[in-house]
């Protein structure tokens, strides 16, 4: 037992600090990707509800393709293809050096692309759930489109979409593990490296699983707290 614990010691002898560092990297990866995915989701939802068929078609293609293809293929495509595409782009403007895609950036792009597709669907449904009369009322009292979005649509959209958005956050946390296949030192890859070097693979993968589980539990509590905030002033049937 003490031998096993010694594996997780901090400092040079154990893997404790490496695992915690990689846990933090995982959290950052998830947070940044989720935030960008949210922006993509808002734009995508806007495009799906747009008057222009071209925008609608583009958004529809994006969500259908990304949601129908394994995440790992998206990661491979962006990680392997990204450097080639980027290099081709740079050579157009006359730069011919070798370009390496950073693992973190590639990971963020891949995860945000995937999450953005799902968030598009969720936010679209949320926007549609805002009563049409309120939108018309906002127009009638002369709100600009931006103000209408900020004051009327967004607060209610968040209220309607929060449970689904929370689920997508939990999915995002778990999806970060996929980035380990392209060699970014996030939690799973660090556990893999530690397991190989100590020949205690199962122990380290189990430890990683427990850390992911911790992230999940903390996130679930945070989501519940957020739900309380967005539900301010709403009368629930159970309270009536």
């Amino acid at each position: 037992m003490t031998e096993t614990l010694a594996l997780f010691a901090f400092g040079d002898t154990g893997w404790g600090d490496e695992l915690l560092d990689s846990l933090w990297l995982t959290v950052r990866l998830a947070l940044v990707s989720y935030a960008i995915g949210f922006v993509i989701g808002l734009l995508g939802a806007g495009a799906k509800l747009s008057r222009f068929a071209l925008l609608r078609g583009a958004a529809e293609t994006y969500t259908t393709v990304v949601r129908g293809v394994p995440e790992i293929l998206v990661v491979f495509l962006i990680y392997f293809g990204g450097s080639i595409a980027f290099q081709a782009l740079m050579s157009l403007i006359g730069y011919d050096g070798r370009i390496e895609v950073d693992g973190f950036v590639a990971g963020v792009v891949a995860l945000a692309t995937v999450s953005g597709a799902y968030q598009t669907e969720v936010l679209r449904a949320g926007i549609l759930a805002v009563p049409q009369g309120q939108v018309e009322a906002a127009d009638a009292i002369g709100m600009s489109k931006l103000l209408r979005f900020w004051r009327i649509i967004l607060p209610q959209l968040l209220r309607f979409a929060l449970p689904a958005l929370g689920n997508l956050w939990l999915v995002m946390l778990k999806d970060t593990a996929i980035i380990s296949v392209v060699g970014l030192d996030e939690l799973l890859r660090t556990a893999d490296v530690a397991g190989r070097s100590t020949r205690m693979q199962f122990t380290f993968f189990f430890a990683a699983a427990m850390l992911y589980l911790t992230l999940t539990v903390v996130s679930m509590m945070a989501i519940q707290a957020l739900e309380k905030i967005t539900m301010r002033g709403v009368k629930r049937a159970s309270q009536a």
Partner: protein
């Protein structure tokens, strides 16, 4: 093959190498067989486990509910890739497994991949089943009981059909998620569709052609699953059953009478 190459060249030649796509096809077909085998077997095992888990969760007994809850919490709260690695490393824990006579039969990573996928999908499917059973309105069960149906008949004629219909969209979603998750087993060197695409990439260093071709195969599978789910949903509605009766009648060339012993007839089931 040449015509196919010309067509591909015409369609995507401005961006992709048609020859590479054609080279990817045989490998992807092998991978397709592997993926379908994995999905099929893990869905089957997963469904059996899920039924047991859902029954445990709904049993109302703490010593049954607790373990099932813990199991589902673990498998729904950790990444599938971690689970795959964990299960793939189980034999490493027990030297005896590696030394035993059955080891040569179970050393192929695909078996461990199937086990991991089955255990994972069981947790999600159990939640779907549990939700669907809880979603059957209590009044329906009460009404059936009041009409004098036995508990078993209520289950067979009211609860299961209704729960089945409720759970089909969610289950189809889970099948798609499992299909997409199955691509992760290439990490333990199973040569499924994604594994084949990755292998072709590491030989040619051309990322777009093999990955896009593999993506198209997955998209086709996802599309097929959604269509099948829509059909299954339709078939579990009364309208779907009537449609099936009509098809059968047309195929047999005569209208069907009720088969004896199929219980009391409802007007909606009668075919004219």
């Amino acid at each position: 093959m040449d015509t196919l190459r010309d067509i591909l060249d015409f369609l995507v030649g401005w961006a992709l190498d048609a020859d590479l796509i054609i080279r990817a096809i045989p490998g992807l077909m092998d991978g397709l067989v592997v993926t379908l085998t994995m999905i099929g077997s893990s869905l089957l095992i997963g469904l059996v486990l899920a039924l047991a888990l859902a029954a445990m969760r709904l049993s109302g007994k703490r010593w049954l509910n607790g373990p099932a809850y813990a199991y589902m919490f673990f498998f729904r709260g950790t990444p599938l890739l971690v689970q795959i690695f964990l299960i793939y490393n189980v034999p490493g824990l027990f030297e005896d497994i590696r030394k035993s006579d059955i080891w040569p039969y179970i050393r192929d990573p695909i078996y461990w991949a199937i086990l991991a996928l089955a255990l994972n999908t069981a947790a999600y499917t159990a939640e779907i089943i549990r939700g669907a059973i809880l979603a059957v309105p209590a009044q329906e069960v009460e009404a059936a009981r009041a009409m004098g149906m036995s508990r078993f008949t209520v289950m067979r004629r009211i609860m299961v059909p209704h729960a089945l219909r409720i759970s089909i969209p969610a289950y189809a979603n889970e099948v798609i998620l499992l299909l997409k998750g199955s691509a992760l087993v290439s990490a333990i060197s199973v040569m499924d569709i994604a594994g084949q695409a990755h292998r072709l990439y590491s030989r040619t260093y051309a990322p777009f052609e093999p990955l896009i071709a593999a993506g198209l195969v997955y998209l086709t599978l996802t599309f097929a699953i959604t269509r099948m789910a829509k059909f299954a949903e339709f078939m579990t509605t009364p309208g779907g059953k009537r449609w099936w009766q009509r098809v059968k009648a047309r195929v047999m060339g005569r209208s069907l009478d009720h088969t004896p012993g199929s219980g009391p007839s409802r007007p909606s089931e009668q075919t004219s």
